[in-house]
């Protein structure tokens, strides 16, 4: 039987010589195998299995706690949608903190995937919104709150922008990133109209005891310096049939999540029975993140 000359072989052969000068400087923890790794989308099931086992071992060694790294694919017949009840949101930012706890973003420099904007009642002008409100008690009189995270666009400008196909929209509608393939050019950040994408300006710092060890390759596994990350609707949870952490954490039930293809789902009920809108609809990004109002006052 003849062995086919694969992409992987090619990289190994050519890069052994050429790469030697470049790699050592770039990171203290990078291994040869990581350097030669191909794009996740082009890997065979065996290669993925091997990759995940290697990562589990690496993270377990690095952080001194046992890690699981899965790569659960999108389920057939599922497209995730999200709805946020602006009439109930009180601006407490518990979703922000739950997200941080779940998704292992850097604590120092701080990265948060959800931003809650405080708006003056009577207008909806992002430029007039306050990102850093800090009162003793929320909600405050005369204001309402608009949490913003990745809108999981049907027509994502970030995916189009990426020069190396390191980010793509999976069949369940979630836009994910292969952190091992991203080159850190940040074109996607410039292209995103919702400031959903965050960059690791330095090596992410997370205290060991705060590490969530139940991880997904395309989701909350530890990231490295120099790559972009973003909200994935908690792909490590949602693909196992659980709610994203922000949905669970919301104390007023303002966050709703479900399968847009399932006629019986709560998200479909909301779309059919309430008046919803999406952010920056004029850009034709077609978010699967909807805002609605269940209460007429308050």
């Amino acid at each position: 039987m003849k062995k086919r000359f694969s992409r992987r072989d090619f990289i190994k052969i050519t890069a052994v010589g050429a790469g030697a000068a470049v790699i050592p400087g770039c990171s203290n923890t990078i291994t040869w195998e990581e350097f030669f790794q191909t794009n996740f989308k082009e890997m065979s099931p065996q290669e993925i299995k091997h990759l995940l086992a290697g990562l589990e071992e690496k993270y377990t060694k690095e952080y001194g706690v046992k890690f699981t790294v899965k790569a659960t694919p999108a389920r057939e017949g599922v497209v995730f949608g999200y709805a946020l009840d602006l009439s109930r949101c009180i601006g407490c930012r518990r979703c922000v903190y739950a997200c941080v706890k779940e998704n292992n973003p850097s604590r120092d420099v701080q990265i948060q995937w959800i931003r809650v904007l405080r708006m003056k009642k009577g207008e909806f002008n992002l430029e007039e919104s306050e990102h850093y409100y800090d009162p003793d008690k929320v909600p405050e009189d005369g204001y309402f709150y608009v949490p913003v995270q990745c809108q999981q666009c049907e027509n994502p400008p970030c995916v189009k922008a990426c020069p190396v196909k390191a980010t793509w929209k999976d069949p369940d509608g979630i836009t994910v990133i292969d952190y091992n393939w991203c080159i850190g050019c940040r074109f996607c950040m410039a292209a995103c109209p919702y400031r959903a994408r965050k960059f690791n300006w330095t090596k992410p710092l997370i205290p060991k005891d705060e590490m969530n060890t139940d991880t997904h390759y395309l989701g909350n596994r530890p990231r490295m310096k120099g790559v972009v990350e973003k909200c994935t609707f908690c792909v490590q949870r949602s693909r196992d049939g659980r709610y994203p952490a922000c949905v669970e954490a919301c104390p007023v039930g303002a966050r709703k999540f479900g399968n847009l293809l399932d006629k019986e789902s709560e998200i479909r009920y909301i779309l059919e029975n309430f008046r919803t809108f999406r952010l920056k609809e004029d850009l034709n990004t077609q978010p699967k993140f909807f805002y609605f109002f269940s209460l007429g006052w308050g």
């Binding site: 992409r7 922008a161 393939w181 940040r186 120099g226």
Partner: protein
Amino acid sequence: MKEKIKRIAEEFRYFIKSLLDVMFVGGRWFYVWMSCLTVLALTGFAGYVIQIQEGLVVTNMREQVSWGFYISNFTFFVGVAAAAVLLVIPAYLYHFRAIKKITALGELLAVTAVSMAIMFVFVDLGRPDRVWHMTPFPGTLNFPGSILAWDMIVLNAYLFLNLIIAAYLGNRRYYGKEPKRRFIIPLILLSIPLAISVHTVTAFVYNGMAARPFWNASILAPRFLASAFCSGPALMIIIFQVLRKQMDFRIEDSAIFKLAEIIAYAMAINLFLMLAEIYKEYYSNTLHLSPMKYLYEGLHGHNELVPWIWTAIIFNVTGFILFLVPGTRKNFITLNIGCVLIITGIWIEKGMGLIIPGFIPDTLGEIYEYMPSVTEVMISAGILAAGAMIYTLLVRAVIALDTGRVRHPGTPLTFYDEDRL
């Protein structure tokens, strides 16, 4: 057979040795100039090592303003590179002899400027070790989807085309032969649309983003071209004068004045397009005015870019007037003042003045004011120095080939008579 290989090796050794002699052996000022550049380049390299170790956190770029000084300089140098075409068009289409002589120098400037542009993008990458992902194989280049992939392709194509042209012309000079027109003319003609596309595609990188209203205006690419035809030739006018003084290089005043005249026309178009842009945003007065307001007058009390852009406008307008009036255009003092004003003006306008307001206010309305950090300035200065070094060496080689100081032993010196002083 063995004899033949030996002879070729001997000839090649002779060629390399005489080339290195003219490139690296020079007068006192040459060594002073190269030493200064080496120091700057090494400082920049040290800065880059720090940036590799710490990450891009050593820059002042942040989530809100995710591109900064590096990408600003990248944009400016793509413009300089594209302007080399300005020398090629009149030289080969209209046989304007005075300019034809300096075409090779313009092409080398294009090579240098593209190299610098690529270096500026490279230092901006978070993962330079993965830059090979941008190849179609073994990487996964997102072509034709990503306009950045297009940009990488045209920049490299333009770089190699110019290198091939320069190398071929040099080779013919070395052997004392006239270039074969059937070979060189198609390549030179190809470099014209490629130069325009290099700049157009770079403009499209910003232009295509609906998320950034400041860039999402169709006037962007034409304005890029207009301003490139100002900064590139202005830089060339200064370089040609230095070469004329320092080396055995002849250039007629008429060629220089012609360039200055072209700059005046290009600047007129550039200023007109700027006014068109300002009118549209200010008169319609939508929320999309905010980035422009931030740039020209400050927004919500934030105004760090305001002095920059007004400097650029004053410099550009003054330069335009100096180059429009024949009296000041043909006076070398005012001509050089005009060149410096225009280079600085366009550097601001097509650099910080274009990239930074794209991010201010950011897509969720926050204002984060950006100015480059010390490390960013260090690294950028290093790239500038590296570019100046490359150009100095290349130009020395080309002039030596042109005047026959480096030539094949079999080529008679009389072949170069026309070009020697």
